[in-house]
Structure formats: structure tokens, C-alpha cells
């Protein structure tokens, strides 16, 4: 039986992890390998490194980070941020990334999805979608939620699947940071209508929220950052909880 996946997200700035694990004494502050290793030892099923570097020049540090992680970490990892064209994806693949996640770049240039999927396979490509409910409609945003687009969530999700996305990472901006649970109704609609895995993101504050994302939301995986970062929830404890509620997890 396929397990549900628990995915901690680590923020990266200028090649260093700035939001990873906040509560253990890691040898080197910001070392992507140490942070990733710690999470993988706790039972994380995958890792996401999200690059929040603003300047273009510092972007090449990302490839170095990816190479270090690929050498040392024995579970799959996704790299988000910094992919604006096919060559960026190629560079991350060569550096050893298992998957990349794209968001704003494909909203501006949807055919980039086709290009990446065709060149490297759908399994390499996660499309992240940030959306929020405006006047009863789920509107897609880009640039970290700062800029609104003409796309509606379900229409856009279906388009990215048809263009070749291998997975969808859906963040509800209404739920993100609130810690009152994921957008389960919308997750379930995505998961039931699309034939590719859906990753829940935004809203985790307690183990029950993960359970709901998998049961009500029918998500294939759940991603969270701050609850893991500040050790409000331990991955080990979370997986025990899920197992006790009959959710298949890897222990």
C-alpha cells in the first residue's frame, strides 16, 4: 500500500537554510545537509527546499546547495524557486534534484510546463499553486501571493496537469499561517478530479489537521514548515498519530 507522505519545507536564502530546524544545535547554522538529515532521520518522507533568494546573482548558490544535498541525503527532495526557464530546470537536475517545483514562472509562461515535462519527465515536475477565495471564486496568485492572475484554481490545476505536471502542490492563502487546518474541501476536489498526486500546503497547526488533509482532503502528501521548524509537531509523533488513525504512513 502506498503511504501518505509528510514533507517538511525548508526556506533557503543565498544558498543557506534560513528556516529549517530551529530547536536543535546544528553544527553549522544554515547548513542544508544538516537540516535535511535531521528531518530525514525523524522520518520525513521527502524534503522541499524553497529558495527565497531575491537576487539573480546569488541563484547559482542554489545549484551548489542541491549538489551537497544530493550527495548526502538518502530520501527524495524537491527544489522550489529559481526556475524561470528550461536551462534552470536542467541545472537543478544535473546537480541532483529529484524534482523541481515551479509557480510564478509557469503562470507567466505556461508552455514551460510542457517543455520541462517533455525534456525531463512529468515525475520531475511539481507545479505549486497559491490561491485564495475572492467573492466566492478561488483565484490563483503569483509572486508569493503578491500578484493576482486571471486564473481560477480548478481550471488552472487542470491545465497544468494536461500540460504535463507530475504533482500539484496547492497552498490555500486563506489557510496559510493561520494554523487552523488545510483547505480540505478544495483539496478533495483537486484530488478527486485530477489523476496526479496532490500535496496539501498551508494551515497545519496540529496533528488533526494532517489527518483531515488525508481523510477529508484526500491529499496524497502534506507539506508544512513552521510547525516542524519550531518543533510544535514532531514528525515521529505525527506519524504515530496518523498510523493510529489508520492512515498508511512509513514508520
Amino acid at each position: 500500500m502506498l503511504s501518505k507522505r509528510i514533507i517538511p519545507c525548508l526556506d533557503v536564502l543565498d544558498g543557506k537554510v534560513v528556516k529549517g530546524v530551529n530547536f536543535v544545535n546544528l553544527k553549522e547554522i544554515g547548513d542544508p545537509v544538516d537540516h535535511g538529515k535531521w528531518y530525514s532521520e525523524q522520518g520525513a518522507d521527502e524534503l522541499v527546499y524553497l529558495d527565497i533568494t531575491a537576487t539573480h546573482e546569488k541563484r547559482k548558490l542554489l545549484a551548489e546547495l542541491v549538489k551537497k544535498v544530493a550527495e548526502k541525503i538518502n530520501i527524495p527532495f524537491t527544489v522550489g524557486g529559481g526556475v524561470n526557464q528550461l536551462q534552470d530546470a536542467d541545472a537543478l537536475l544535473s546537480a541532483g534534484a529529484d524534482k523541481i517545483s515551479v509557480n510564478s514562472a509557469v503562470l507567466l509562461n505556461p508552455s514551460l510546463i510542457d517543455q520541462i515535462a517533455k525534456s525531463f519527465g512529468s515525475q520531475f515536475l511539481v507545479v505549486a499553486i497559491d490561491a485564495k477565495k475572492v467573492d466566492g471564486r478561488w483565484i490563483v496568485y503569483r509572486n508569493g501571493g503578491r500578484i493576482t492572475t486571471d486564473h481560477e484554481l480548478f481550471e488552472w490545476a487542470s491545465e497544468v496537469w494536461m500540460r504535463g505536471a507530475g504533482e500539484i502542490l496547492f497552498t490555500s492563502m486563506d489557510h496559510d499561517g493561520v494554523k487552523e487546518g488545510y483547505a480540505c474541501k478544495e483539496l478533495a476536489m483537486l484530488s478527486e478530479t485530477l489523476p496526479i498526486p496532490v500535496i496539501a500546503s498551508g494551515g497545519a497547526g496540529a496533528p488533526e489537521h494532517f489527518l483531515e488533509a488525508f481523510t477529508e482532503g484526500k491529499a496524497d502528501a502534506a507539506l508544512a514548515a513552521s510547525v516542524f521548524h519550531y518543533n510544535e509537531i514532531s514528525i515521529t509523533g505525527l506519524k504515530d498519530y496518523l498510523k493510529n488513525h489508520n492512515v498508511p504512513v512509513r514508520l
Partner: protein
């Protein structure tokens, strides 16, 4: 004599991750498409993520199809590598190497790709020595090999399929040991110490 491990280099994605996994175990390997070096290796790993027809075409052009088929040392195919060791793949209507006399089919139910951690069951091979029953391994694939006479482990995804196969000196896993945490490392170690 020290082991010399060859990783078959071809036009598939993420071959380096196998090399990285071996290095974590302190094992040096050579990534090569040189027939002589592959034939001379004590163990050969045939990894891969990619598409079947284009990859077979590439292997044939390089003469590697014949080389791999005739190897007599332990060979480990991984993911696409395992599928290419079968007789035929529905992916791109592709004639494959024919080491395992079976076919590769497309998943027609459930979400595709089958992606994530799944449980390894019915394990019966030296590859899994020292592993607890029901260990989890990492998969990413859209095509699968049904259970057959060569199957030495299975997993379940809308049906039971071959998680691993074995015939004489040929071993293969559908999952990625190089991404399967400590169990994956144990499987690689078991293969290397065959």
C-alpha cells in the same frame, strides 16, 4: 581483489544519484558507457529514469544492448533499468533486452505516476538480507511489471506488481534503492557484497 563497480551511463535522468548513494556507503563506482569497462567490472548497475523507446534506441546505437544481455557478473537494474531488462514495454511499443521474459504495462487505474513510499512484501532474494518484513521503499513510475516467475518481491498499487526480479546473475528493482533511506542503502550493500 577490490570490487570495481560500473554504472551504465546512458541518456537517462539522475544517474548520479546512484553514484552518490554508493559513495555514502564508501563504495567507489565508475559511470561509463564504454563496453570494455562495463564487461570488465565485477558488478554492474543499470539505473534510470526516463522513457523506454528513446533509451533502447540509444543503447542499441551504442551496442550496449548486446553488452548488457551477455554480462555474467551480478547486474542490478533500477526502475527504467529493470523495465528495459524485460522482453517488451508498452511504453513507446518497445522491444527491450529480453533478460526477463515478461512485459511492462501501463498503470491504467489510480493516480499515475505511482509516486512515494510503498511497502515491500513477499521478499525472497539475497538483495533483502537483513531487512524486516514490510519495509518501505521509494517508487516513481508510470509503467509496471506484473508478477511473474522472476518476481522476488512485490508491492501493491491497485493490484500487485513486481517490486524486484531476479534471474541467474540479473537482479532488478522497480523502486529506487538510492532514494529509499537506510533500507535502500542496505539493498545496495547486499548487492555489492554478492
Amino acid at each position: 581483489m577490490a570490487d570495481n563497480i560500473a554504472i551504465v551511463k546512458y541518456n537517462a535522468g539522475n544517474i548520479r544519484s546512484v553514484d552518490f548513494a554508493l559513495r555514502r556507503l564508501g563504495i567507489k563506482a565508475e559511470i561509463t558507457d564504454d563496453s570494455a569497462r562495463i564487461r570488465a567490472a565485477s558488478k554492474v548497475i543499470f539505473p534510470g529514469v526516463g522513457e523506454a523507446s528513446g533509451t533502447m534506441e540509444y543503447l542499441r546505437r551504442k551496442g550496449l544492448d548486446v553488452v548488457i544481455r551477455r554480462l555474467s557478473q551480478p547486474v542490478l537494474g533500477i526502475c527504467l533499468g529493470m523495465q528495459l531488462m524485460c522482453g517488451y514495454s508498452e511504453e513507446g511499443d518497445t522491444e527491450c533486452l529480453g533478460i526477463f521474459n515478461t512485459v511492462v504495462q501501463k498503470f491504467i487505474t489510480g493516480k499515475v505516476p505511482h509516486m512515494g513510499w510503498n511497502m515491500l512484501e513477499d521478499t525472497r532474494s539475497e538483495l533483502f538480507r537483513g531487512m524486516a518484513a514490510g519495509s518501505w521503499v521509494y517508487y516513481v513510475h508510470s509503467y509496471f511489471v506484473p508478477e511473474n516467475t522472476h518476481t522476488v518481491a512485490t508491492s501493491y498499487y491497485n493490484g500487485r506488481f513486481s517490486a524486484a526480479m531476479q534471474r541467474d546473475n540479473f537482479f532488478a528493482t522497480q523502486f529506487h534503492p538510492e532514494k529509499s533511506g537506510s533500507y535502500g542503502e542496505l539493498i545496495l550493500k547486499n548487492f555489492i557484497s554478492l
